[in-house]
């Protein structure tokens, strides 16, 4: 049984201006697997992440999302987090009055935040006392978010474009972070537009028109994506490449 099983998921926005964003999407992520999700802008990748996490306004219209064999229907964000799912948003929010150290130890009485900062390429000495507020750059804030997720040691981490806002030279740092999740036993659902990041996944899926159109080896899925086969795929069953 897969860790995350999504079956025939439909998500529509509110009734007044209903738009179907996810249209019968099915996807599975195995325990400990890094699974990349690729697709053009507006295909529903971030929406899917929010539906899995149970964010407000992102309840499934139909279909089912199961985690560790249990349906997540009706569970709130923190209840899903306590089952082992967590998420890093594409643009992490800032918090006044909370230090990096405190942020890395949320819901934990003790621990060593330094090791998690080092895993995301940050100096503990320089950052532990800093506030998680606007004094941090976008890239710094993003790294701290990733460190905080590593500290949680989740069963599944959903990373929505962890590479956006990170400088080109630091791509390897992101790859190292994803490897650290995997080494710690976490599965990763990795949303990315960068081929070199997707390449480190065990498997990849291409999302198009609110459905998964193909799944398989990351290089082959990327090739399929770049060949713009999407129009052909839409309306067909998901196939493996």
């Amino acid at each position: 049984m897969a860790l995350l099983e999504i079956h025939d998921l439909v998500y529509e926005t509110n009734a007044h201006h209903a738009a179907r964003i996810l249209d019968g999407l099915s996807l599975s992520v195995e325990g400990g697997e890094v699974h990349a999700l690729i697709g053009t802008n507006g295909t529903g990748k971030s929406t899917l992440a929010s539906v899995i996490m149970g964010c407000e306004g992102y309840g499934a219209t139909s279909g089912d999302v199961a985690f560790d064999g249990k349906s997540l229907a009706g569970l709130k964000v923190h209840e899903r987090a306590r089952l082992g799912i967590t998420m890093a948003w594409q643009e992490p929010v800032r918090f006044e009055g909370i230090t990096v150290n405190q942020y890395l130890l949320l819901r934990r009485d003790s621990g060593d935040p330094a090791q998690y900062l080092e895993l995301v390429g940050m100096s503990a000495q320089r950052y532990e006392g800093r506030m998680v507020d606007r004094s941090l750059s976008g890239g710094e804030r993003k790294r701290i978010e990733l460190a905080s997720l590593l500290a949680l040691q989740p069963k599944l981490a959903i990373l929505d474009e962890p590479d956006s806002g990170i400088d080109m030279l630091s791509t390897q740092d992101i790859i190292n972070v994803i490897a650290a999740f995997k080494a710690g036993g976490s599965a990763v659902l990795l949303i990315t537009h960068r081929e070199e990041i997707a390449a480190i996944a065990d498997r990849a899926s291409q999302l198009c028109g609110g459905r998964i159109v193909c799944t398989g080896n990351p290089a082959k899925v990327a090739e399929h994506y770049k060949a713009r086969h999407c129009d052909i795929c839409t309306g067909r069953e998901c196939h493996y490449v």
Partner: protein, 311 residues
């Protein structure tokens, strides 16, 4: 137990540094109601405090070029259920002086207490003053706090003030601060207040950027819950070339509480620039979901966010 011992004990239990009051190296002034209980000065600091027919009057002067090594502690309070405390204070920092004043205002049992402060501050050329005022209130909400402050910051002078009332019930709060900043002067005004039940909060901070290249920021953080109300008015006038001011107000509202923010920015010189931002409403949804994705319950998440902005 003497009144001073009681005031000191309350101060200590509220988190204050009791040793600082006993240490000969630290200047202090302690008063309960209209009685001066204790005072000490240090070299370069002149304190003339006396009891008047309707309150306490104090003149504080930091002499030219003197940089006080330790903060000056001012411990004010009304320890009984009912009472009034009126304080009239004149503070002067002479040219090049530097001092940090910490006022602890303690009202642990207040059911019907009025605390009124009327202060004027004069900061000389190149002088720097920090003023931190922290209130420790009991649970009854029977305190009326009316601090009125008028500050003149001279050329190259710096003034920083920080008002905190996050422990116990606020009661009724009516802050009225006005700061006039001279050439190259800097003023920073910060207030943090947490209101509950029927607390009524009014904060009015005004900065006049009168001198060339003067700078200021007014920062207000208020959280209110239950049936509390808050109105925050942040006023900045840019009246000289190169003046830069910013007004930053954040109010978090829960339950039936009502908040209002009134930023007033005015520029009277084309070379000045004043900006403002205000955020009022319930706790930010994305902040909540981010903390909940870390496993915090909605209640724990709100607590972390509110404590953070009031820190």
């Amino acid at each position: 137990m003497s009144e001073l011992e009681e005031l000191t004990a309350c101060f200590g239990s509220a988190g204050g540094d009791v040793k600082a009051l006993a240490d000969a190296g630290f200047a202090h002034l302690a008063a309960s109601g209209h009685r001066i209980l204790s005072s000490r000065t240090v070299e370069g600091l002149e304190v003339r405090a006396r009891e008047t027919w309707n309150g306490i009057s104090a003149q504080v002067t930091v002499k030219k070029g003197v940089k006080l090594q330790h903060p000056v502690h001012m411990c004010f309070g009304v320890l009984h259920k009912k009472g009034t405390q009126k304080i009239a204070m004149r503070v002067k920092l002479e040219e090049g002086a530097s001092a940090h004043f910490i006022a602890h205002c303690i009202f642990p049992k207040a059911e019907k207490v009025r605390h009124i402060m009327d202060a004027t501050v004069s900061i000389g050329e190149g002088a720097e003053m920090r003023y931190s005022e922290t209130h420790y209130h009991g649970p009854h909400g029977g305190v009326t706090v009316v601090p009125k402050l008028s500050v003149q910051v001279g050329r190259n002078g710096r003034y920083f003030t920080d008002f905190t009332l996050t422990t116990g019930r606020v009661g009724k709060l009516d802050i009225d601060y006005t700061v006039e900043a001279g050439e190259n002067a800097v003023a920073e005004l910060t207030a943090r207040v947490f209101g509950h039940a029927t607390d009524d909060i009014h904060i009015r901070d005004k900065v006049l950027l009168a001198g060339k290249n003067s700078r200021s920021i007014i920062k207000t953080r208020v959280a209110i819950e239950d049936d509390a109300t808050a109105e925050v008015t942040g006023i900045t006038e840019g009246n000289a070339e190169g003046a830069r001011g910013h007004v930053d107000c954040m109010e978090i509202v829960k339950d039936r509480a009502v908040a209002r923010a009134v930023p007033i920015v005015q520029v009277n010189d084309p070379g000045a620039k004043v900006t403002h931002e205000a955020a009022i409403g319930s706790v930010d949804k994305r902040q909540m979901e981010t903390l909940m994705a870390h496993g915090l319950s909605p209640e724990e998440a709100v607590d972390v966010i509110v404590k953070g902005i009031l820190k």
